[in-house]
Each structure stands twice: as structure tokens, then as C-alpha cells.
Point group: C2
Chain length 425, copies 2
Amino acid sequence: MSYVEELCKRAKMASTDLVSLPTEKKNAALHTAASLMRLKSAEILSANDIDIANGRARNMPESLLDRLMLTEERIKGIAEGLDQVVSLPDPIGEILDDFDRPSGIHISKVRVPLGVVGIIYESRPNVTADAFAICLKSGNVAVLKGGSDAIESNKAIVRILRQALLENGVNEDAVNLIESTDRKDTEEFMQMRQYIDVLIPRGSAGLIRAVVNESRIPVIETGSGNCHIYVDSEADFNKAIPIIINAKTQRVGVCNAAESLVVHSAISSAFLPLLGKAMKEHGVSLRADERSLLLLPGSESADETDFGKEYLDYILSVKTVDSLDEAIAHINKYHTGHSDCIITENTASAERFLNEVDSACVYVNASTRFTDGFEFGFGAEIGISTQKLHARGPMGLKELTSYKYLIRNTSCKTGSVRASVTQKL
Amino acid sequence: MSYVEELCKRAKMASTDLVSLPTEKKNAALHTAASLMRLKSAEILSANDIDIANGRARNMPESLLDRLMLTEERIKGIAEGLDQVVSLPDPIGEILDDFDRPSGIHISKVRVPLGVVGIIYESRPNVTADAFAICLKSGNVAVLKGGSDAIESNKAIVRILRQALLENGVNEDAVNLIESTDRKDTEEFMQMRQYIDVLIPRGSAGLIRAVVNESRIPVIETGSGNCHIYVDSEADFNKAIPIIINAKTQRVGVCNAAESLVVHSAISSAFLPLLGKAMKEHGVSLRADERSLLLLPGSESADETDFGKEYLDYILSVKTVDSLDEAIAHINKYHTGHSDCIITENTASAERFLNEVDSACVYVNASTRFTDGFEFGFGAEIGISTQKLHARGPMGLKELTSYKYLIRNTSCKTGSVRASVTQKL
């Protein structure tokens, strides 16, 4: 049996132990992990030094080195994250439904863990501890495949997490790191459908596309966000401008940042000059279609590919439309189904937009930046799903669960057998 | 653009119309479809005659010809199925959650259709109408790829369904049949991730495996059922025998039929002779492991492969174990995660079994045959999911839905912008 298969098989076996692990044990392990993280920060930092040195030797750009780098402060942040998950309610065991049937059976629908969650991610080592915490609290075994850039940091962190499990009498295999950096092993990992229940890629659009294409394990697509803001003919400009500034510039490299502005032609001559001024003040350059360009002198002209782009930068595309219908059609064509917003004072238009834009999160007069597990009150987040199967939008603890039906015979005298034969199977 | 891509693209476009289609329109279309099905039964029967003649010419076995064959009676049954879906509650628009956040936004979580549901199935033409009804009522566009054996019947049925949509002012593209029987077109269909939201295979284990392996669209695995019954050391034999008879013999060709018996060694010498007699009376042959075989003289001996087999026939494998732990481990190793049952009077053992057996439906003293959308009270069923992602167990209307978050700004004075920058994306 190969290294990867053996690891995945052990993970699957550990999932049985986690199904009914008491909340107190999960919390104790998380708490210990947080303490050990602080206590052993020197060990993590020296491992991280190796990754950083290797990165520099490979001429890794400064922005990536910054993502990769750990500091005492950042390790404290990771430990705090672990402690925060302790305070969240345990989702496992919740009775979702409970009913009798005329046939004499009683059915309970109960929340259970998914089982084994695979996570493929890039260079940020904090994901290692975050993902472990969310998986453990939701009763799931985590199999982690981090970026090879961060391999030494990840190994050090996982060693500490496993020690925390051991110290609390929890199966160490509740968290597993694929230590190989061989591309072939990642490919093999994505075929392990018999052991892994779901695979969540976290990272660039390229990584996510590769996982979707290659995986035989069910994948939850996360994080790709070409978010739109539509300024309607009945928009209040005093709302529009601050929302666009917030959505575009508060943090440009994140999936819930706005990437494209759609504006109604009835107000474009009044609105676009205001927009141009505000964006200039915030260092944002515009890529405008032909009609918008007339009102945004000095901006660059957009081509067709601009509307489908997630810039993750101080750039915003601008498109003029003649109706709400055209705005909705444009957004549904170019967006990634993440977050989109309408600015309007017209309730009917707002309701149509909410209904017809096919995104995880649809906003009226509010910034797309709110699409986030913490802002939604979930207390933790493993990613933002842009697909419709299973979970959509911010994914917290509950989104990492499944359910099962428990069926009990309601009579103590006889067993329950099915009377009707008719069945459409 | 290819035939398949064009069809899938049209389906995707139609999904926008279906999102907010009023319940009355859906019901009217379903009702018309039922009436037309009865009215035009001759048209369907003569199409079916062609399929049957082609099947005979290709020496199709009688059992498959029977599955393929339509009669006036069966068409009436299909029409009744359509009418039944009219009476079910419309799941779309249900508010699943609704809350304010301190940041000043109001979040509603609302049930929405999945969008476009692809269904790949084998020769039973009734699935064509059933799948259409469940998809339409749950606001989903259906793209159907039936078996090539049933192509003429399916074409006739879909022509009638589309007429029913048209007569009620509903977009005809709410139901689509891939009329090509070229294997390449099916392969292309399974790549249409940009248009199809979920793919559900219905049919043999081979078909399901092929779809899981080839599809880039998220798949819901259905219908593979290697169901176990475990007779515990504290079993009441008066419950065990009728339940096993029901689960094994009421209908052998279905996914919720029992395929394997696991028996505790403490009671095997008292129980297995009773079982042997009952199974003999019902024409069931046994495949017993070494220890069981001693108590079941004349039975065949089981090899390792028997325990993993879904016989779909009058055959039952038998395995003796020495503990509840061993029983649970055996079942979790060989089952398909569909339905498993414990026969016991011991509540603690029952609870452990319910908790630790990792199946969609786990039973205490009740037949696995109850795993069925109608028996569960869902009123309709598109299949029985054996995976943990999205839906598990019988899938009715609600299981064909997703949700979206609608976020409204709670102040009428200002727009909502996010204050905190911290975010783990």
C-alpha cells in the first residue's frame, strides 16, 4: 500500500472514534493545542525559518514570503483561533427532525460528521491549525495537504496538534499531514474516494480548478469571487459611494472584494464622475466599457475578458446597462456565484435582484465584504462555497456535517416489517 | 457548439425562469402532463413498441424487456405519479433562517432550487416522467439521459411533458432529453459543469461507478445497497425471523433489500437452524462462512467476495461474529452505507449500533425495506443517496434544493459597510 493510501486509510479508521467523541474531549484537545502552540513557538519559528530560507533561495516574491512567514505575534493569533473554536457549540448529535410513521417506525434525523475531510491549500501555514480546529470540533478527521513551500512549518504545527490529541486521549490520526511534496502523491490523494468524504481546495483559482478537474472525491469549490455591485437607476449615491469604496478597497486580495461595477444608463452621467473621483482618491484604476468611458475620461478601456476577471487588485471594471434585466443577465453571465449587490431605493427592483441573481450571497445596499463566516456569526470559517451542492456561502462548523436517519421500532412486542411492496426503485 | 452543449446551455438559461415560477404554474403543468399522458397513451405505446421490437431483435433478456415495456396500466401509474407531486408542498422560498447582525445587516437564508439537475438512468421509461415531476416541483430544470433501449419511449414521453409546459406558459426547456444514443455524447454531458449543477445516476452499480469516475459535475451517488442485518446476542428471534424474511424476500431486486446476515456466536447455535428453515421456505439460498456453515448444513460456503456483494437475488450471506464490536467493524467494512439493522433487546447495544454504523439509515428491530421516500413520508423520491455530501438517504423534493443568503441593510439612512478588516481569507 502506498504512503498516501496508508495515511488515508488510517484517517478513515480514526473517523469512527471521532463520531461519538464527547464535546469536552474535543475542547480539551483544542485548548491543549493552543497552549502548546504558545509554549513551543520557538520550535515552529525555527521550522518556518527553513521554509523562508528555501523560499528566498527560490526567489519567492516578497508578497508570498510574507504570507508564509510566521512570527510570535502570528503564532499567538493561531493559538487564539484554536481557543475560539472551544467556545463554539458542538454541532454533532443535534436532532434535525423526529417523527412517527403510520407503519409503526419512528424516524430521527441526526447531525453527524462528514467523516474525513481533505483540504488542499497553499502557502499560509495558519490554515493548518484552523482547519484542524474546525474539523475536530465538527467531529471530522482532517487530512491536510499544504503547499510544499510551507512543508517544514506545517510539519512542526501538525506535530504539536497530534501531541495535544495524544495528551487528551484522542486518536492522533484525527489530524494528518501529507508530508510528501511530490506532485504524484497529491494526484493520488485526489483519487482516495473510498477514504475521504469531501475535498476542499483553498487557494488560487488555478488550484481550485485543478482540484475540481482531477478529484474523484466530491469537491466543495471555494473562494473564487468575481463580485459585482450594480448601481440602479433609483440608487442613493450617498450609499453607493461608501459601499463601493468599502467593497473595492478595504482589502483587495480577498474573494469578497468587488471586482466589477454595473451602472444604469439613466443615472450614469450623474454617477460615474462621482465614482471616478472616489476611485482616484483610493488609488483604484477603472476598466470601462465604451459607454462608461465617455463619462470616465482618462480611464482604460475594458475588453470582454475584463468582466470575467477577479483582479484581486486596485482595479474595477465598469459596465453600463439600460435596465435591471440587463444588469442581472450581465452579472449571472460573468460572476462566480459568490457575492453580488444592488444599490437601489426601489423595493421591487431589490426583490427581483435578490431572487434572480444566482449567488451564494446577494446584497441590497450593503458591502459584499460581509460575506465571511465571522461576519455572519458562525464563529469560524473553513471557506466560502461557490457551489450549490451541500453548502453555499460561508462554511462554519455545521457546513462540515452530514446527517443520518435512525429508525426505531415503536412496538416492544414485534419487529417492524414493511407491508407495501410498491416501490419505484 | 455541439448538440449536447447547446442543449445544456438552453437548460441553464431556462433555470432562471424556474427559480421564481409560482407554485400554481408548476402544479398546473404537472396536472396537464398527467392528463396528456392518459390522453395520448396510444402515442406512447406505439413508441414503446419500437423499443420493445428493437430489444427483441437484440435478444434483450425477458426481465429487461419487462422493465422496458409500457402498458395502459403502467401509463396510468405514471400519470398518477405526476398528479401526486401536485399535492406535495412546494419547498422553494422557505425561510430556513433569519437574523440580524451587530454590524447592521439582516441575513435571510432562503431555500432555492439547485438549478439544473442531470439524471442518467437505465431502461425504465417511468423514470422520465417521475424525474421531470420532482425536478419541476423543486424549481429545477431536468436534463435527462435515459438508456438507449428506451429512446423512442422517452422521446414520446418528453414530447408530451414539453407540450404540458407550453400549454401552461412555462418554458419548455424545463425538461430536456438527450436524444443522442452515442456514448461520446454521454461522456460530453458529464463534463458540462458550467451548465449542470448536479448529476444523479440511477441504475446498476456499474452505471453509478462509471458516472462517479467520469463526471466533472458534482455527483450524488444513489442506490447501491449492500444492506446488513445483525442478530445480536440479546435478539428476540420472534422479531428477527419476520424482519429478515421481509428485508430479504419482499422484493429482491431493490437496493434496500438485505444481502448479508451477521450473527452473534452466543446465539448462533439456537438461531441459525431457525434461519435456515425460514430461508429455505422462502427459496433463499445461503452463503455461510466457516463457523455458520456448521449450523447450516447444506448451505454453500461463502468466500471473502460474498460479503461485499449486492446479490439482488434470493441469496443471503451469513457471517458469525463474537461481539458487537466485530459486527460493527464487519458492517462498516463491507456495506455501501445504505441501510443496516440490529436485532436486539439491549438498549445500550442498539444505541452503539445506531451511532457507530456509518450508514444513511440505521435500524433497530425494523426491516431495511423501509428506506424509501414514500415510507419516510416524503411523498416522492428521486433516489437514495449513499454519500454524505449534500443529501443522505431517501431524496425527496427538499433534497433537490440549495439555499442562498439574502442580505439587507437594516438602516434606511445609510448603506452598510464592513468595519473590521481582519479576515482569514
